[in-house]
């Protein structure tokens, strides 16, 4: 498939840009942060997003969705990356809806997917247990009990955990990866405690403790890990699309500053030391763009290369966003390290996104393993 977006996808991207520019610029994130907003996002904006169909793009029509595909959803992520918009789109739509659609039975899909599509359900994934991404190292236990299961354990870095209606909890019924399964947990259920954490990107994250919490198995036992892996690859690509938007915005703001700021009587952008570093960033961003569009298409095509592509993309995008956000600050000089200037927000968001679902190191290692070394 040609590595370009089609007209419909372009229209979606343009309308997303428009809405976000007006309703959710970087200053909106600053406001959420400074007012210590209890929700950490703007529910009204979330409703508007739902009305525009963003929450339904990857959901099949049979479950109230638009079945528009991930390439389109990726365009929205890219635009949200530019404005650093805080919303549950990643947790609920990229991770929640994807995994429910992949793993859930018909009844579970019927009860959850239409609500996600309407924007009335926020879903969070409770996966990590240690400080570094490691989906195989799960010690949260799930023990069969009556109709359902009982879960105990502690989860960290649960994105949007404290605002979620439902949690998808990764827990263990037996040893090995096959013993890892997915469970639906109601956020109001007894034995569950959710503690909000303040992260450097001012976005939502929580620590979740489960003490004999009753839960419902998502889909079939023994099939959870495969669905989790596939969902994570899809979500890694979605997150990479967001990061691509973030790095492009930081880069463009920096180029604009190089043309605006004068020192020694000339524009600082005329200094070759800065020009070459800018040209290097341009080059790396070009590579990221190609990986992101190729990977988004691979999701919609259900390509057998999905895993390798997700791995390459999250690695490359993670490496590049670190370079770009650091250089962006450096090239702004003193003003770059002030809280008043927005450029620092991009670096802060980047660092959290880099850690999410595996960083550069994780994916470089994984890519080598996938290639047999």
């Amino acid at each position: 498939m040609a590595l370009v977006i089609n007209e419909e996808q372009q229209m979606l991207k343009t309308s997303a840009k428009e809405l976000l520019k007006n309703r959710a610029p970087v200053s909106a994130l600053r406001l959420l942060r400074d007012s210590k907003d209890s929700k950490g996002y703007d529910p009204q904006l979330w409703q508007e997003m739902a009305e525009m169909g963003w929450t339904a793009l990857n959901i099949p029509e049979a479950y109230g969705g638009l079945d528009f595909g991930y390439v389109g959803l990726g365009q929205i992520m890219e635009e949200m990356g530019r404005t650093l918009t805080a919303s549950p789109l990643f947790s609920t739509v990229w991770m929640g809806a994807t995994v429910i659609n992949l793993a859930g039975n018909v009844l579970q899909k019927e009860s959850l997917l239409p609500a996600i599509a309407e924007g009335t359900q926020v879903v969070a994934l409770a996966l990590e247990e240690t400080n570094r991404h490691n989906p195989s190292r799960i010690s949260t236990t799930a023990i069969a009990s009556g109709e359902g299961y009982v879960l105990s354990g502690r989860k960290v870095f649960v994105l949007d955990g404290h605002i979620a209606d439902k949690l998808v909890v990764v827990a263990r019924t037996a040893d090995g990866d096959e013993g890892i399964n997915l469970f639906l947990v109601d956020s109001k259920v007894e034995g569950l405690s959710i503690e909000r954490k303040w992260m450097m990107d001012s976005r939502n994250s929580a620590t979740v403790t489960l003490e004999n919490v009753s839960a419902e198995l998502l889909g079939e036992e023994g099939e959870g890990f495969a669905a989790l892996e596939k969902m994570m690859d899809i979500a890694r690509i979605g997150l990479s699309a967001e990061m691509l938007g973030t790095m492009q915005e930081a880069f463009e703001r920096t180029i604009a500053y190089l043309k605006e700021r004068t020192q020694f009587g000339v524009q600082i952008g005329s200094f070759q030391a800065l020009q070459h570093r800018a040209a290097l960033m341009y080059s790396e961003i070009e590579l990221c763009k190609s990986l992101v569009i190729k990977s988004l298409q691979a999701i919609d095509e259900d390509s057998s290369d999905l895993t390798k592509l997700a791995c390459m993309t999250k690695a490359k995008v993670g490496e590049t966003i670190e370079l770009v956000t650091n250089e962006a600050i450096q090239m702004h000089g003193g003003i770059g390290v002030t809280d008043e200037e927005e450029i620092g927000f991009f670096m802060k968001r980047a660092r959290v996104a880099q850690r999410t679902l595996g960083d550069y190191h994780y994916h470089l290692d994984r890519f080598a393993k996938l290639n047999g070394f």
Partner: protein, 394 residues
């Protein structure tokens, strides 16, 4: 030109496939692996194997050394759709180009665009048939990156130009029959506006060459001296004093030809074979992420080429992006060569007595020139910053 229907294309594909199957020798079905694999043509052609000769002659007779150039100039006359199919079918069996030359890569495209009808009729068929070896006379001792400062003079003597000066780094000047050359025809004009593009016969008294030895041990390039050399006035290409326009056009063609080189063995296979695995991972823990990173960059660069072509088809101009491809491709090429030397350890730094003994070390040395020839990496970064990012000049 007539339009091509889907059935025409289907037939063309079937015919091309059958013809290539029948005519491409097995040994020609792999990418170039070393300099010897390339057939350059010329008035004293040298083939490294019977197969190479056979493959070249068959393709030449079909006009497929330059498949997309017009038939009347000796090309294959393929239209866009057919040319795409042709390339796909060549790639399907990994067929290597039968002829590689500066004539095909650089002068031909320039003549097709700027040349007169007489020049096209005279020179392009020779290029297609691989009969003339052309070399490129741009750089001078005092004019490298700042090419437009070149000093070689061409004086108007009525029916011919009289040429005096010196070129340097002229690849294969000692084997070439002719040279396309940038010369100063108006010393008084500002530097970009006094340059002309002329074609000169190397076989004359006023032209001498002296090979320069490269760090790889080979001597593929030369100093070229012009001492009252002559060329008829009809060998001026384009307009007098407007040679810079042609020079720039041609440089983008040259740049797109320098980049990633295909390799016989992938980096990771070479590393696994030489270094081995411990618990399933490469036994050199430092090299492992370096190779991985390189592989990702290589794949991403290839995708970027693909994306840029798709965007061009959708109407987005690539602009000065060739500078980015030249920069990134050559840097990756250097990295990969360096890693191969690392992987092979002592064997990697073996020089041997002849070029084929020390392929890795010598090959690595050769790649150092990739980021210099056709415009240096720094110059490519300058072009990206000014022409793509719009950063100001001083």
């Amino acid at each position: 030109m007539s339009t091509t229907t889907q059935t025409d294309i289907k037939t063309f594909r079937a015919e091309t496939r059958a013809w290539l199957e029948e005519n491409c020798p097995q040994s020609m079905r792999s990418p170039y692996r070393s300099a010897e694999d390339i057939f350059w043509g010329g008035s004293k052609p040298e083939f490294s194997s019977e197969d190479q000769k056979l493959w070249f002659e068959r393709m030449r007779d079909k006009g497929w050394t330059a498949p997309a150039w017009p038939k009347k100039y000796g090309g294959g006359g393929l239209n866009k759709a057919e040319y795409k199919v042709f390339k796909e079918e060549m790639a399907r069996i990994n067929a290597r180009p039968p002829l590689f030359s500066f004539g095909l890569m650089m002068l031909g495209p320039a003549l097709l665009y700027f040349g007169s009808e007489e020049q096209k009729m005279k020179y392009i068929p020779e290029i297609c048939r691989g009969e003339i070896w052309w070399c490129q006379g741009y750089s001078e001792p005092g004019s490298g990156s700042d090419l437009a400062s070149l000093q070689t003079r061409a004086e108007d003597m009525g029916d011919h130009f009289l040429i005096n000066g010196q070129k340097i780094w002229t690849s294969y000047a000692d084997q070439a029959d002719k040279i396309f050359c940038l010369v100063r025809t108006n010393p008084k004009a500002p530097k970009h506006t006094g340059i002309s593009f002329v074609l000169i016969d190397m076989n004359q008294e006023g032209v001498t060459t002296r090979p320069i030895k490269l760090i790889s041990g080979k001597s593929p390039f030369c100093e070229t001296f012009f001492d009252n050399a002559k060329t008829p006035k009809e060998n001026l290409v384009g307009t007098l004093n407007d040679g810079w326009t042609i020079a720039k056009y041609l440089l983008t063609h040259e740049r797109s030809g320098i980049g990633l080189m295909p390799a016989t063995q992938s980096l990771q296979d070479m590393a696994i074979e030489e270094i081995g695995l411990e618990n399933g991972v490469l036994a050199d823990p430092i090299l492992r992420p370096q190779i991985t990173r390189w592989m990702i960059n290589e794949a991403a660069l290839k995708l970027t080429t693909e994306r840029t072509m798709d965007e061009a088809k959708a109407g987005q101009s690539p602009g000065a992006k060739s500078a980015f491809f030249k920069y990134y491709g050559t840097e990756l090429n250097k990295e990969q060569s360096e890693m191969r030397v690392v992987i092979k350890g002592f064997e990697g730094v073996e020089w041997g007595e002849d070029y084929n003994d020390g392929k890795l070390a010598r090959g690595m040395c050769r790649t150092k020139g990739n980021s210099i020839e056709g415009g240096t990496s720094e110059v490519m970064l300058n072009i990206i910053s000014k022409r793509i990012l719009g950063l100001p000049s001083r």
